[in-house]
């Protein structure tokens, strides 16, 4: 059971980091779209 806590802590760490990185990636994709729109206009 105690190993469950260990797994939970390590999993939580990577969920937080991957979640944050995915927000950076989505913001970057949105900016790229904005650049394309600016180039067109």
């Amino acid at each position: 059971m105690k190993n469950g806590y260990l797994f939970a802590a390590y999993a939580a760490t990577w969920i937080i980091h991957i979640g944050y990185i995915s927000t950076i990636v989505s913001r970057y994709a949105r900016l790229k779209r904005e650049i394309e729109e600016l180039k067109k206009s």
């Binding site: 806590y5 260990l6 390590y10 980091h17 990185i21 950076i24 206009s41």
Partner: protein, 230 residues
Amino acid sequence: MKKAFPILGVLTAVLLSYALYQALVVAPTEQTMGDVQRIFYYHVPSAWTAFLLFFINFGASIYYLAKRKTAADIVALVSAEVGVVFCTVVLITGPIWARPVWGIWWTWDMRLTSTLVLWLIYVSYLFLRRFSSGGQTPLLAASLAVIGALCVPFVYFSIWFFRTQHPQPVMGGGGSIDPRMLHVLLINWLAFSCFAFLVCWSRYRLEKLQREIDEAHALHSLLAPRGSSR
């Protein structure tokens, strides 16, 4: 620079995998806590990395207040944001460790409470940056960052000043640690520091791009004929 990023990314991924292997397999099992003590190899490096990032935020904010350089403002914003992510990891992994060891998830002990207050200060800093649109926002944020940074040594040394349940600090405290555990801890810190550096680098590029686009939008709306929208 474009080639350096993927190379550093691969090296960091290898280092993080090696650090994980060291934490789960190589590090000796602690006698009283057992395997749950291995949470320490993620909890403590995350705390040190958060403190380091808040220190960088402090330095960049002071520099911004003195010189008004946009790059310093971006460094301050990025280091605070990534620092909050690492501080969140600390606040999540700490209670997961405390439940099997102390029998409780949380206690209003000085170290835990001051860490939560520190997190709230930097979250308020990010809210200020996100929702305030005035020209004075970077100045106000830099001032708040200076106050926030003053809390970092208080959080670290709170164990000395107050009676607390939290274990003694590994560095500069009265706690002792097996040299093999210290070795694994330092490898994990190195791995998480490299990871934080890469995330900050990506976020810096993103913020710079965002500001360039905002300027382009502003210029575009100035040059556009009246009545036309963006």
